[in-house]
């Protein structure tokens, strides 16, 4: 089970960058590029920062340039979350 879902991302995007009137943020949007969905690089930077705060995770800076679709962004967040878990356990 994913710790971070597409719906989580869409919720954050709506909060921090609104929603294009002509675009429906649904599962079908997962593989469209952010630019097609009406989100520019600043909107993504804002979303990235919100995800980092809400999930207490640090995403590599390359995420902005490499995760061009919502699906790729969700994968990047889950990869970062998974990488974090052993460290937490080791510390515990």
């Amino acid at each position: 089970m994913s710790a971070f879902t597409l719906e989580d991302l869409f919720t954050i995007m709506r909060e921090c960058a609104g929603e294009e009137e002509s675009v429906d943020l649904a599962d079908t949007a997962a593989l469209q590029e952010f630019a097609e969905l009406g989100y520019d690089s600043l909107a993504l930077m804002e979303a990235l920062s919100r995800v980092e705060r809400a999930y207490d995770v640090e995403l590599p800076e390359e995420t902005l340039g490499e995760a061009l679709t919502p699906a790729a962004f969700v994968d990047a967040v889950n990869a970062a979350l998974a990488a974090r878990t052993p460290a937490v356990e080791a510390a515990g």
């Binding site: 960058a17 609104g18 294009e20 009137e21 909107a43 930077m45 804002e46 980092e52 705060r53």
Partner: protein
């Protein structure tokens, strides 16, 4: 030999108004003729611990109804006003913007403070939490040029753009710059100004300037030219205008409010120099630029600082040019508070509607001007007039004086 081509004229074909006493030009104008004031105790935050507690707030503006959701998280209230005002100014002009290449449409606005409320919130995040909590949109949302930028993007205006920052005088300076661009060959310009900084940070900045009234009585706090004037009330809002090249506007059958007929700006000597203000020269030069004599001016919308020394300087300049009591003078800002960069564009709209309807709106809350000002101040109720041209004055803190003449449409 052929005659030189006439200098293109800049005419106003659309207006978008947000004012404390009316949202939309129609609501604003009817409230203004009724003498309705939008000044009251600040409601956007608790002002009780501040030395000034009154303001002209825009109360009936729903952001969600007028600004795309995509733009709400990245804009301050001042930009939301500018976006709505520019939408309305374009719609009001009836212009099909798509009929022109994007490079032939531009935008110049004035700004006195930028996005203060947005900036206050994000600076709070910076020192209250950490840099990660600062919005990425802080990179531009607070900035003076943000209204011009967002309006340019929204309406795909890729011609000349700019922003003027000369406090309250900027509202006229921006329109003058837009007129220059029209004369230089750009057929359509959006211009004007909006300010909305009625947040603790914005109020603190105005209080530090020392010009705000401390009164809690909305009917006594801002009384320009009264003997007992003791400062002004801040307000939020302003106006955006659609300017078009005159011949082109007539050819497409546009409804024309009037022409930006003349303009001049001067700067005052440094305080304490003993040299007089250059406001009178701004008035005379604007008349010259318009090709008019003082007796051609039907009425004056004064800056009306509400501060005795500034009021005296303005009254003297008007008496020197027009003769003692020589022209009807009014300050409709008494119904809105001073809107900073938004004030003069709103005064231009007021002047054009007053010429159209032959009614000069009153200066409210002032029974009579101080006797030694020799002013024919319009008070109590609108005054019927019949004439073709009006003068708008705007003065900015730090020495800025601007004067603009508007004329009724000709050959209509």
């Amino acid at each position: 030999m052929t005659a030189p081509a006439p200098t293109p004229t800049a005419v106003v074909t659309g207006v978008g108004v947000l004012a404390p006493n009316g949202v939309g030009a129609r609501n604003y104008w009817s409230a203004t003729l009724r003498g309705e004031s939008g000044i009251g105790r600040i409601t956007r935050f608790d002002p009780s611990s501040y030395p000034s507690r009154l303001a002209g707030e825009v109360t009936d503006f729903s952001v969600r109804d007028h600004v795309p959701s995509r733009l709400v998280p990245q804009t301050d209230r001042t930009t939301q006003f500018a976006l709505a005002g520019s939408d309305w100014a374009l719609a009001d002009s009836g212009l099909d913007a798509g009929s022109l290449p994007a490079q032939e449409r531009g935008v110049v606005t004035a700004s006195a403070s930028g996005g203060f409320e947005f900036g206050q919130r994000e600076l709070g995040h910076l020192w209250g939490k950490d840099p990660k909590h600062v919005s990425a949109y802080m990179s531009f949302a607070w900035f003076y040029a943000v209204n011009t930028g967002q309006v340019s993007i929204r309406h795909d205006l890729r011609g000349p753009t700019g922003v003027l920052v000369t406090d309250q005088a900027g509202g006229l300076d921006a329109v003058a710059q837009a007129r220059r661009r029209i004369r230089g060959g750009t057929p359509v310009m959006l211009t004007g100004g909006m300010d909305a900084s009625l947040c603790p940070y914005g109020l603190a900045a105005q209080i530090s300037a020392g010009m705000l009234s401390g009164s809690d009585d909305p009917a006594r706090a801002y009384r320009p030219f009264a003997a007992a004037a003791d400062g002004h009330v801040p307000g939020e809002g302003g106006a955006i205008l659609t300017l078009e090249e005159g011949r082109r506007a007539r050819e497409r059958g546009a409804r024309v409010y009037g022409e930006i007929g003349g303009y001049a700006a001067t700067f005052d000597p440094r305080p304490g120099s003993g040299r007089p203000s250059n406001l009178e020269r701004a008035v005379r030069d604007a008349l010259t630029d318009a090709g008019l004599r003082p007796e051609d001016i039907t009425f004056v919308l004064a800056d009306g600082a509400g501060e005795p020394e500034a009021d005296r300087v303005e009254a003297r300049a008007l008496s020197a040019v027009f003769g003692p009591g020589g022209v009807p003078v009014t300050v409709p800002k008494t119904m809105t508070g001073r809107l900073y960069s938004g004030a003069a564009p709103l005064d231009l709209v007021t002047a054009l509607l007053a010429l159209r309807d032959g009614l000069v709106p009153p200066t409210v809350h002032v029974d009579a001007p101080a006797a030694d000002y020799d002013l024919d101040l319009v008070t109590g109720r609108p005054r019927p007039v019949d004439g073709d041209a009006a003068l708008v004055l705007a003065r900015g803190r730090g020495g800025f004086n601007s004067a603009m003449v508007v004329r009724r449409p000709t050959g209509a």
